[in-house]
């Protein structure tokens, strides 16, 4: 079987490619060049997409002994991920660009090209399990689990994906990289968003969306408590950076409850007003069964990357997904994914996912 290993220049994808070789696949390494101008994406060891990373990936491919190429996906990445990221914030939502990159780039643009060129699958260094039963499960390393950002993948995409690292902890992967003589063994993990060079997301958005001053309004009293320079600077659940001109009438802390782009209003309220118990999602993907379930499914849902799973009942109807939470959760941001899992001793199984469109408070 011929497989294409996406190699970011980091330790995970290098070990994944090496394991794919050991597993008997005919492996070709590809580094995805995602920046229109490689210097502008984060430099140094932390990021992806830099010239340095391309070189690290090439060096790893040489050590493993596989052919290596660079594919230029800068334009696709820009329209599908970066522009989408900005547009989502402008629409008052909080997107997850890694998830979008998996959905639109790694397992779409890259996978489609790979298949057309005669490859059978794409290998990545994601920490998630995809075993013989072809079910997507959490990694054995809960701190590194990336099943959440893979849960958008359709059955068709998963059937052509290989994740060799899901059964290993990150520490194990690093040790193995050192054993294999891969120089990236102790390269620091990437964090944050690769295309936000300095990690300053509000600054990045301000550069693209400009200043858009508007009011910060208290949900309880309806009073204007302050002003903001752009609603895109806020995420539901956020407390820091509100810089209210005056305290709320009840004197208690305020959190962002919602963002209304039409009136450019940020609505704030007390912590308990953040609690939601019903989450609606759009563009659902269901991979647990060939057809979406007819009735409600008892499961757990995760509502943000690295969020705790919450018991819930999920149902699909009318092209949407609804999750009724067994206990209220605070700070659910539209634009993030709701991912349904079935707890399993062999690794919690991803059932499906959707993009959160609305969250209703407890008591509805």
């Amino acid at each position: 079987m011929k497989v294409l290993a996406a190699m970011s220049g980091g330790v995970d994808s290098a070990v994944a490619a090496a394991r794919a070789v050991d597993a008997g696949y005919e492996v070709t390494g590809v580094h995805l060049a995602l920046s229109r101008n490689p210097q502008t994406y984060r430099s140094g060891a932390r990021g992806c997409c830099t010239i340095e990373d391309a070189r690290d990936a090439r060096r790893a491919a040489d050590v493993i002994g596989i052919p290596f190429y660079v594919w230029d996906l800068a334009e696709r990445f820009h329209t599908e991920v970066v522009d989408d990221f900005v547009a989502e914030y402008a629409a008052g939502r909080t997107p997850n660009p890694c998830l979008r990159c998996n959905e639109k780039i790694k397992f779409a643009a890259v996978l489609d090209k790979a298949v057309a060129l005669g490859f059978d699958a794409v290998v990545t260094g994601h920490h998630a399990r995809l075993g013989a039963d072809r079910r997507l499960r959490r990694s054995v390393d809960p701190a590194k689990d990336q099943s959440y950002v893979l849960a958008v993948l359709s059955r068709r995409q998963l059937d052509r994906a290989i994740f060799p690292l899901g059964g290993s902890t990150k520490a194990h992967v690093r040790a193995e990289a050192a054993d294999r003589g891969l120089a990236v063994a102790d390269k620091p993990d990437s964090h944050d968003i690769c295309f936000v060079a300095d990690g300053d997301t509000p600054g990045f958005l301000a550069g693209r969306l400009g200043a858009e001053p508007g009011p910060i309004v208290d949900a309880d009293s309806g009073e204007v408590l302050g002003a903001h320079a752009g609603a895109y600077r806020f995420t539901v659940g956020q407390r820091r950076g509100l810089r209210l001109d005056r305290p709320a009438p009840d004197g208690r802390r305020r959190y962002v409850l919602s963002i209304t782009p039409v009136s450019n209003t940020v609505t704030v309220g007390p912590a308990e007003a953040l609690a939601v118990s019903t989450v609606s999602g759009e563009r659902p993907v269901w991979t647990d069964s060939a057809r979406p379930p007819a009735g409600p499914v008892e499961c757990e849902v995760q509502l943000r990357a690295h969020g705790d799973p919450v018991p819930a009942v999920v149902s699909l109807s009318g092209g949407g997904l609804t999750a009724r939470l067994r206990r209220p959760v605070r700070g659910v941001a539209p634009g993030q994914a709701v991912v349904a899992y079935r707890p399993d001793p062999g690794g919690d199984i991803v059932l499906g996912s959707a993009t959160i469109s609305a969250a209703k408070p407890a008591g509805w």
């Binding site: 580094h31 070189r55 052919p67 190429y69 090209k113």
Partner: protein
């Protein structure tokens, strides 16, 4: 393996390799005054004479360098600096649009950092510099020109330029012309003094010598400011302890390449014509780029409509066939070739290209292997589409 990328680098000739190994055993810095030093210097000077004789230059006109890139940079920057120093009005560089990056980017650097101006010489659809354009710029701005640089033969599409004609025009305006003859030596006749150029770049690894050794042939009357300062080993224009075995092996390769040029060219041209015929038969809509007549005998360059050159390269590589898209990478990302764009190709056409180049080890079997692998690769690459 079918190695169809001799323009990137070609295997060392056995004679050059033997010379290298033999001299590498010897001790001596060619600048030292003692016996081992004298021995090394003798080797170097013999090599210089060999190269001069092979390329129609005087020994004193041979400046050894660390390869083609250095020769090009030394010629472009060094002559620019020296000419401008002598006459501050001379800040114009005239360069063809199809130069190798070693020239192209050196010119760009002068524009960005040294206040140079540039007139890019256009080429026609087959990649030939238009002689009238050179005449026009020399007539209009002759007293402002620092130098003209136009390559002898293009590394991507193999087009051979009318270098003597260009040099004559430049000389009649008392303007020095530099030519990058790195791809030309051994494939077409190259005679430095007969060509009338002021400076000529050549490198070892494109003609059967080692990598990292080259020369700039430069007339004694040409002023050139050094890039590398130090011991002044080479005519005070280039410093650095000479790589004696490299220089000797390089000279052996140059001598063989020049002496054997007619037979070598005839053999390559016959193989190349067969390659072209086989590719056309295998992929009827393949477009043969470049100049059919003024062309390096070892070069075949095609566009494959609807395919990405990168994808074809990957697929052929997987079948053991080594070729090139011919264009340079920026941060590992293939850029559409500035040469093809200058020839009037669209960006998709430029990105759909592959270069096959032959050399002294090329065989018919390699061409057969290409013809066998190409149809399936083209079909696959077409399915993958022009852009991911």
């Amino acid at each position: 393996m079918a190695y169809l990328d001799h323009a990137a680098t070609t295997p060392m000739l056995p004679e050059a390799l033997d010379a290298y190994v033999q001299v590498a055993r010897e001790l001596g810095n060619a600048s030292s005054l003692h016996a081992p030093g004298r021995c090394a210097r003798r080797r170097v000077e013999e090599a210089r004479e060999r190269i001069a004789a092979a390329l129609g230059a005087r020994p004193s006109e041979v400046v050894f360098t660390g390869g083609g890139t250095e020769s090009d940079n030394l010629a472009v920057k060094g002559i620019f600096w020296a000419r401008r120093a002598a006459d501050p009005a001379r800040t114009l560089v005239v360069a063809s649009e199809v130069e190798h990056h070693a020239v192209h980017d050196a010119v760009g650097w002068l524009v960005e950092h040294e206040g140079a101006r540039v007139t890019w010489l256009p080429v026609d659809g087959s990649g030939r510099v238009q002689v009238d354009a050179v005449r026009a710029v020399c007539q209009a701005d002759g007293d402002q020109i620092a130098l003209v640089t136009a390559m002898w033969a293009n590394n991507e599409v193999g087009t051979v330029q009318p270098v003597s004609e260009l040099a004559e025009i430049a000389a009649s305006h008392r303007v020095p012309l530099h030519t990058d003859a790195i791809q030309a030596v051994g494939q077409v006749p190259v005679d430095f003094s007969a060509s009338g150029v002021a400076a000529l770049s050549v490198t070892g690894h494109k003609l059967g010598g080692p990598v990292g050794v080259g020369a700039l042939l430069m007339g004694r009357e040409v002023d050139c400011t050094p890039l590398l300062h130090g011991g002044g080993q080479e005519r005070d224009v280039r410093s650095g302890t000479l790589d004696v075995p490299g220089v000797v092996a390089f000279s052996v390769a140059v001598e063989m390449a020049a002496k054997g040029q007619p037979e070598h060219a005839a053999r390559l041209a016959a193989l190349r014509d067969e390659l072209v015929a086989r590719v056309r038969a295998a992929v009827p809509n393949a477009v043969y780029n470049g100049d059919p007549e003024h062309r390096l005998p070892g070069n075949a360059h095609f566009s494959f409509p609807g395919c990405e050159g990168d994808a074809l390269l990957l697929l052929l590589d997987a079948q053991g066939i080594a070729c090139s898209t011919g264009s340079a990478c920026s941060a590992g990302v293939a850029q559409p070739s500035h040469v093809l764009l200058a020839m009037g190709a669209s960006e998709p056409a430029a990105r759909s290209s592959l270069r096959f180049t032959l050399g002294h080890t090329s065989t018919r079997a390699e061409i057969e292997a290409l013809a066998a692998a190409l149809p399936a690769a083209v079909e696959r690459a077409r399915r993958a589409g022009p852009r991911a």
